[in-house]
Assembly symmetry: C2
Homo-oligomer: 248 residues x 2
């Protein structure tokens, strides 16, 4: 067994702004700029296009991890189911992100499409071949994994110490920043997740999420035609709330 084989199966779902297709808006962002053209071409050759309807599962928790997915468009929710039926979201992923690396033979999380999702799938054997052929992919994964880790640890702190409103503010800002990173300028943003989805990410009930958003709207920090569409009117106020500055 190569060390690569020892390492790769340990990886959990990993976030990337890796884009494999010309149509992907994130083409110029982040990760794919680091990949040499020949590597990118090889990766694209190995990839197989797939489409998923809203609420369809890209893969399920416990399923054999037979490949990875690179999102082209749409929003995906990574979630974990507890034995007694409770469930939690681990995070959201967007166009350009990479997911489905499983630490074990089985997926640790399920991945559910929140809207219409198109993705590229790369099977395990093709992936092994790519890794052998392009060792730089290993470095790239280390980069992604480190980003994931930092994000997860930030979220740990938020869950441990933030109030309900602080968590919702931090979440909204993270959505906006994710969109901006991927070239979506704003000022109006689409939230594909329902209040329940958000609650499961933040450890809140859907009603509490709704109340927090209503509160922001009432204070004039936010507006939008529908509940899933919003425009930030006072980003500073939200940022202050989301940065753990309760007394400021």
């Amino acid at each position: 067994m190569t060390l690569l084989n020892a390492v790769r199966p340990m990886l959990g779902p990993v976030r990337a702004w890796l884009s494999l297709c010309d149509a992907c808006e994130a083409r110029e962002q982040g990760f794919c700029a680091l990949l040499p053209p020949d590597v990118l071409a090889d990766v694209a050759d190995a990839a197989q296009r797939m489409a998923f309807a809203p609420r369809a599962a890209l893969f399920r928790q416990g399923e054999a991890a037979t490949g990875i997915f690179i999102l082209r468009n749409g929003t995906v929710r990574l979630m974990q189911l507890l034995p007694d039926g409770r469930q939690a979201s681990v995070g959201f992923r967007f166009g350009g992100d990479l997911l489905g690396f499983s630490p074990q033979r089985e997926h640790r999380h399920g991945a559910e499409a929140l809207d219409s999702v198109s993705a590229c799938r790369i099977g395990r054997s093709e992936l092994d071949r790519l890794f052998r052929r392009h060792p730089i992919l290993e470095r790239t994964l280390l980069h992604l994994c480190a980003c994931e880790l930092a994000a997860a640890q930030d979220q740990l702190v938020a869950l441990v110490r933030f109030t309900a409103e602080e968590r919702v503010a931090a979440f909204l800002l993270s959505i906006v920043e994710a969109r901006e990173c991927r070239g979506h300028p704003g000022p109006i943003y689409e939230l594909r997740a329902t209040r329940a989805d958000v609650g499961e990410l933040l450890g809140l009930s859907l009603e509490t999420v709704s109340r927090a958003v209503s509160g922001f709207r009432r204070r004039g920090w936010l507006r939008g035609p529908g509940p899933q569409t919003f425009e930030l009117l006072d980003r500073d106020a939200l940022t202050k709330l989301a940065s753990g500055n309760a007394d400021a």
Copy 2:
């Protein structure tokens, strides 16, 4: 700038069972078994021994990240301070673990000794040299980073959906498992953290942690001469509580 330099600074504190000294009990465990002897020797040469008293800081949040630490003995708490004074623990680290890789130029977390800690420090320039000389270290870090990520995501789920007692049960079991992984057989375990330290990791007040432990003792799942010393009497009961099996 090499890709290595692009990647390494992104890494957050990384856990390892990397042992650099003969005296370390974890010598045979996990990571160091993967490192060839010549790499291990080079790493040991670059390391500088340091000792820290209880509650001393190995490094502080916001400080320049001038090197990494490999714990030889003792327990360390990684913590993050919010602008308004609230603080949260990101995790505990034990003998054999590696910490201090900073995603930026500055440490994202502080590291505080919970008991008497001895550690090896490797400066940034020595580290760069080691990385250039032994590319295998990069793979090793990927492995560690992936383990860290999986652990952080598990903790996310626990914080989002577990009740106070479930979190404390999960924490106690994780301490026991960490000790066992490192060759400590039990059945009596030392908890170096105070109730407040545990609370800051689990998002609970110190009183709630105390009540949970008292509850376990009352039910006969736990006993111990002092509050920081405990023996598991009914590990199955704790495991059931800690695995999200509320109705079982």
